[in-house]
Every structure is written in structure tokens, then in C-alpha cells.
């Protein structure tokens, strides 16, 4: 069953001035448990598509359904709640809260979900252990490397038990070793725990590990390859 379904999604920036067509009718279905990379050259619409799927932006046309909910019909406040419960985000620049420790960063979204302190504490420890940071839980982002920060970001994205995780260029700022390490962790989470990952990326190392590669060009899907 598709957990993400887009139909005829378009996105036009500056429609009244000089229109820029970022997406031109994208139809995409993503099943639970997929490990999908959305690739394409700069300006092809990868990030725009991710933003729309993630409920951060609204399409100019078409429909987006996530877990059976048509997110285009949700108000801004409903969208915020929807993201909190259903979507985990991993950003290119990590975007951790600098004044919180690794563990507090992971607990933060669960706090927004009003989970109990005990549950937050236990799950954050488990997730940080899962990404190999059990000995870094009391460190703040500034005290960690880029790779470690991105692993905290993955743990944070997993914390609310989302339907899927959207990762926008997650390895863009990482060195080779950190990239490999991060991909190993995400692949294991995908295979062992069935976590759905959707990436936008330029990084060939990510593309090589993906089990499905959707290629965008000029706002349209030009190739959709599923690997065995």
C-alpha cells in the first residue's frame, strides 16, 4: 500500500511575474519500507518535491496524500501537527538545536508529542545507541563532528515514530567515512525495522545504496528504477 501518493503535482514559483515551473505534473507512489532516492540535476525539482511531500510547502496543482490523508486540505496548524506525528526530517545542515544536548535534541519532538519523560528518556537512549552515539548523549552539537550531528538528526527524525523519513541531501556536508557510516545506519534501520526513507541527493554513494531511484529533470519524472 502506498504511504505517499502524488497525482499531477505542479509547483509554480512567481506565478504573477516570471513563472518558474519547478514541478510539472508529478505522479509518484512510495510504499512502506522503501529506501528511495530522488535524484536529478540542480533545479530539477527534487527539494521542491520533498518539501511538498513533507507538508512544508503546498503544491500549485494536483494532490498529495500521505498515509491516506490529503495534506493539501489541511490548515497550517493542522499541517504542523501532521508533520509532528507522521514525518521525520533530516536536513542537509543537520539543524539541531544548538543549546540542547544530543539526547535533549532527540527528546524534543517527543516532548511536542507529549510523551512521558520516562518514555522520552528511554527511547532517546535507544535511538542514540542505534546510531552509535551512546557515549555522546550529553554533548551539544558544537562539541560533535558533522557526521555525529547528522546521526543525531537521524535519531531525532526517528524519535516520533514517523510514517516515513524525508532526508534532503543528508550527506552533502559529510566526509566519505561519515557518509558510509550514516548510510549503513539508515540501511540497517530500513532493513531491520522497516523504516521508510526518501532522500533527495546528488551523492552517488547514496544513489548506489538506494533500492529505488526516481530521476527528475525539469520538474518531471523521467526515470523510476527499482533495484533488486
Amino acid at each position: 500500500m502506498s504511504i505517499i501518493k502524488t497525482r499531477g503535482v505542479t509547483k509554480v514559483y512567481n506565478p504573477d511575474k516570471i513563472p518558474v515551473h519547478a514541478l510539472r505534473g508529478v505522479d509518484l507512489d512510495i510504499e512502506a519500507g522503501e529506501f528511495t532516492a530522488i535524484v536529478g540535476p540542480s533545479g530539477s525539482g527534487k527539494t521542491t518535491l520533498l518539501n511538498i511531500i513533507g507538508g512544508l510547502d503546498r503544491p500549485s496543482g494536483g494532490s498529495v496524500s500521505v498515509g491516506g490523508t490529503s495534506i493539501g486540505e489541511l490548515s497550517d496548524n493542522q499541517l504542523i501537527d501532521f508533520r509532528k506525528e507522521n514525518i521525520g526530517f533530516v536536513f542537509q545542515a543537520y539543524n539541531l538545536i544548538p543549546v540542547l544536548t544530543a539526547q535533549e535534541n532527540v527528546e524534543f519532538v517527543m516532548l511536542l508529542q507529549k510523551r512521558s519523560a520516562e518514555e522520552r528518556h528511554q527511547r532517546s537512549e535507544e535511538l542514540l545507541a542505534a546510531v552509535g552515539l551512546e557515549d555522546q548523549i550529553n554533548k551539544r552539537p558544537a562539541e560533535m563532528s558533522g557526521g555525529q550531528q547528522q546521526r543525531v538528526a537521524v535519531a531525532r527524525a526517528l524519535a516520533p515514530k514517523p510514517t516515513f523519513i524525508l532526508a534532503d541531501e543528508p550527506t552533502a556536508n559529510l566526509d566519505s567515512a561519515s557518509t558510509t557510516n550514516l548510510l549503513d545506519i539508515m540501511a540497517r534501520l530500513n532493513q531491520e525495522e522497516g523504516v521508510t526513507f526518501v532522500f533527495s541527493t546528488h551523492d552517488q554513494r547514496v544513489i548506489d545504496r538506494a533500492r529505488r531511484v526516481v530521476t527528475l529533470d525539469d520538474g518531471q519524472i523521467i526515470k523510476d528504477e527499482v533495484r533488486k
Binding site: 512544508l56 504542523i80 527528546e107 508529542q113
Partner: protein, 404 residues
């Protein structure tokens, strides 16, 4: 955790937070000092007026207040005076005969008011004996003694034991005069009062006026000013035909000055709070704009606008509270210290005494003002947080996340 984030965010830009906290501390301290100084100065004027001439309560014949003529007098008896002097909260009750006169020496003349007093009764009311800086306070022996101020002595060019002739109208409106001997020089610190008043025994002036029990004024000094209203009622009940007024009614300028304390405090507070307001808005706006991407991320992962708004407001309130506590403490300590030692303004004593104020000002502040100030700072911080917080919730996560 929102509280934790808000608290820690304050310390992300230590210098900037330190500067704004320092500015608020300084503003609060300056406000406390200025208002306590103003209060002390005005209060010294009011206290001087009460202590040296007016007292807390005065009794007159109705017409005397309209037109202070010699004939608008009343008579007093010892029994009534004793009763009134022993009322609860009353330190003393002093009858006075008041006569406009010319004081003449061999060298000069000046217009004065003769204040005929009972020397013993006057002491608890005005403490006049303590104001005598040279000579004696109405010695038992000697005929027609007079106390004049140092300032008047200089004008009349007289000294202790000099003769002064007081010329005035008697009850028949005939010009009469009496020769008085200067027995003491006083200095109340209130220059206009000192230059315009002389003290003689009431029995002496009444004899010259031809009316032994005459008085124009009965002044009360209270050792418990809280009982002012009650004492006023009790005196009025005892003297139903006379006009009994408190010092505010007798001297409306005192009421005006007392009112000025609150007005000045409000003006000072508004000015300082406006300065703090813009400082807070500037600081918090910078904090929000610097953290644009972070705020976008918070909203992306599910932090709703109410929480984002609350976080910014909370940060601002933390800043204010961090400054409020030391600011109030510093201000309070300054007031406590200066209330004891006073601020010596003798360099400006000429000007101050012209206005009936003391040379040493003892700053003072009511406890309620500290509460008002704390609320004002909190309210200012709250108002100052509104615009930055509004800017924070207006951001679009999709744009903010990518902002560098």
C-alpha cells in the same frame, strides 16, 4: 524543555544578553534612585513645613482663613488645651497669636509676622528650642524676650541682647509697639519662613493686644500621623465652632508637592520603560533573525506557532527577570544606605533653603513602588517580546530552513 531552551538561548550571545541585562539593571537602579531622591526632597519640604510652622493639624476661626485679621481670634483655656494635647497620637498642641508687624532695630526695619507662643507647648509641636543656634530659648527671667532668625538678625543688623521694636495694630486697630530683647537666634533651614517670622511669648503679645486668652491658631503635631483623620474628628468634636484642617487643607502646596511625587515617578518610569522597550525589541529581534533557520526547523518538526511565540516571550521575560532582581536589589541597597547617610547638598543650600528644603536629602521609597517597578519591567518585557515573537511565527519553515 521549552523553559530550558529559552533559558539557554539567553546565554548563546553572552555579550549581547549581558549588555541588555546591564542596561536594564542600570535603568532600574537609576529609576529607583531618581524617584527616591525626588521623594526624599519633596518629603523634606513637606516635613519641614509641618515641623517648623504648620503642624499636622490647625484650628482657626473660619474667617481667619479667609482674611487673617487680628479680630478673627478665639479664646483658649488650659483645660481644653490639656485635653487636646493628651489625645491619642498627639505629641503636642500649641496655641498661637499671629500678628503682622514691623520689626525695627536702630539700623533697619522689616515686615514680619509675630508668632506669640507658649514656649513649653511649642516644643513638642515645632521643636523650636532645637532650632536655636545662638542664645537661649525663652529664659524664665527677663521681660519681653524675642526669638528671631539668624537671617533676620543679619537683615536688622542685631545680635543677642539687642533691642527690637515690634510695631503693630492692637484690637482697637490702634498702632501700638513693644520693645523686645533678642534672647536667641534660630535657623529652621527654611529661609522664607526664617526671614518672615519672629517668636515672642503669647502672654506678652496678648497683653500688648489687650486680650489675655486670645489665640488665632492652635497647631497640633502628631507622633502618629496615621491617626491624622481620627484626631481631626476628635478635635472638631471638642471645638465645634472652629475650623479644623489638616496640613494639606492649610497649605494646598504641600498636597500638590505630595501629588508631584507620584506624577514624577510615573513620568520617570515611562521614560525609562520606553528606553528599555526599544532595547529589548532590538535584542530579541536580532535573536530571532539570527535563529531564523533554527526556528524554521522547530516549526518543520512540529512545534506550533503558540509554542514558538511562547518561547520568544519566555526568553524575553527571563532577560527581564535576570536584570530585575539585581537592579531592584542594587536600588534598594542604595536607598537604604542613603536613607541613613543622606545626600549632602549644602553646596546648593542657598537655593534649597529658599524653597524650604533641607540641605541633606534622605532618599526614601515606599515598598509598593518596588512592586510597581517589577510589574512595569515585566510588562515592558512582555510588550517588547510581541514584535520579535510575531516575526518568528510569521516565518515559513520551507524558506527558513534553507536560509544561510
Amino acid at each position: 524543555m521549552l523553559t530550558t531552551i529559552a533559558w539557554r538561548n539567553i546565554w548563546r550571545a553572552r555579550t549581547r544578553s549581558g549588555v541588555v541585562i546591564g542596561a536594564i539593571i542600570l535603568g532600574i537602579w537609576a529609576l529607583v534612585f531618581m524617584i527616591s531622591f525626588t521623594t526624599g526632597m519633596v518629603q523634606s519640604y513637606v516635613d519641614n513645613a509641618i515641623a517648623t510652622s504648620i503642624g499636622h493639624l490647625q484650628v482657626h476661626q473660619d474667617s481667619f482663613r479667609e482674611e487673617p485679621k487680628l479680630i478673627y481670634s478665639f479664646t483658649t483655656d488650659d483645660e481644653t488645651l490639656q485635653y487636646l494635647g493628651e489625645l491619642e497620637g498627639v505629641a503636642g498642641a500649641a496655641p498661637r497669636t499671629l500678628v503682622d508687624a514691623m520689626a525695627g532695630s536702630s539700623r533697619s526695619t522689616r515686615g514680619v509676622q509675630i508668632r506669640g507662643i507658649d514656649p513649653a507647648a511649642e516644643i513638642p509641636v515645632t521643636g523650636l528650642d532645637q532650632q536655636v543656634v545662638e542664645g537661649e530659648y525663652f529664659p524664665e527671667k527677663g521681660r519681653n524676650p524675642v526669638l528671631i532668625s539668624q537671617a533676620l538678625a543679619n537683615k536688622l543688623k542685631v545680635k543677642i541682647r539687642s533691642k527690637v521694636v515690634l510695631t503693630f495694630q492692637d484690637k482697637n486697630l490702634e498702632i501700638t509697639a513693644g520693645a523686645f530683647r533678642v534672647v536667641g537666634l534660630f535657623n529652621t533651614g527654611n529661609k522664607p519662613f526664617d526671614e518672615g517670622n519672629v517668636f515672642v511669648r503669647r502672654s506678652d503679645i496678648n497683653r500688648l493686644l489687650g486680650e489675655e486668652q486670645m489665640a488665632h491658631e492652635l497647631a497640633f503635631f502628631l507622633n502618629d500621623p496615621q491617626r491624622l483623620g481620627a484626631v481631626q474628628q476628635e478635635v472638631q468634636a471638642k471645638l465645634p465652632d472652629l475650623l479644623v484642617e489638616d496640613y494639606r487643607q492649610v497649605a494646598p502646596d504641600l498636597q500638590l508637592y505630595e501629588g508631584q511625587i507620584q506624577t514624577s515617578a510615573t513620568i520617570f518610569m515611562v521614560i525609562i520603560m520606553l528606553a528599555l522597550l526599544f532595547g529589548i525589541i532590538n535584542t530579541m529581534l536580532m535573536a530571532v533573525l539570527e535563529r531564523y533557520r533554527e526556528l524554521g526547523m522547530l516549526m518543520a518538526v512540529g512545534m506550533n506557532k503558540v509554542r514558538v511565540f511562547g518561547m520568544i516571550v519566555l526568553e524575553t521575560l527571563f532577560l527581564a527577570v535576570l536584570a530585575l532582581i539585581p537592579g531592584l536589589l542594587l536600588g534598594w541597597l542604595t536607598v537604604v544606605w542613603l536613607a541613613d547617610t543622606g545626600i549632602d547638598l549644602s553646596a546648593f543650600s542657598g537655593g534649597l533653603s529658599q524653597f524650604g528644603m533641607s540641605q541633606i536629602v534622605y532618599p526614601q521609597l515606599q515598598a509598593g513602588f518596588y512592586v510597581q517597578l517589577a510589574l512595569a519591567v515585566a510588562l515592558t518585557a512582555l510588550i517588547g517580546a510581541l514584535y520579535p515573537a510575531w516575526r518568528a511565527i510569521r516565518l515559513r519553515p520551507v524558506e527558513a530552513i534553507r536560509k544561510i
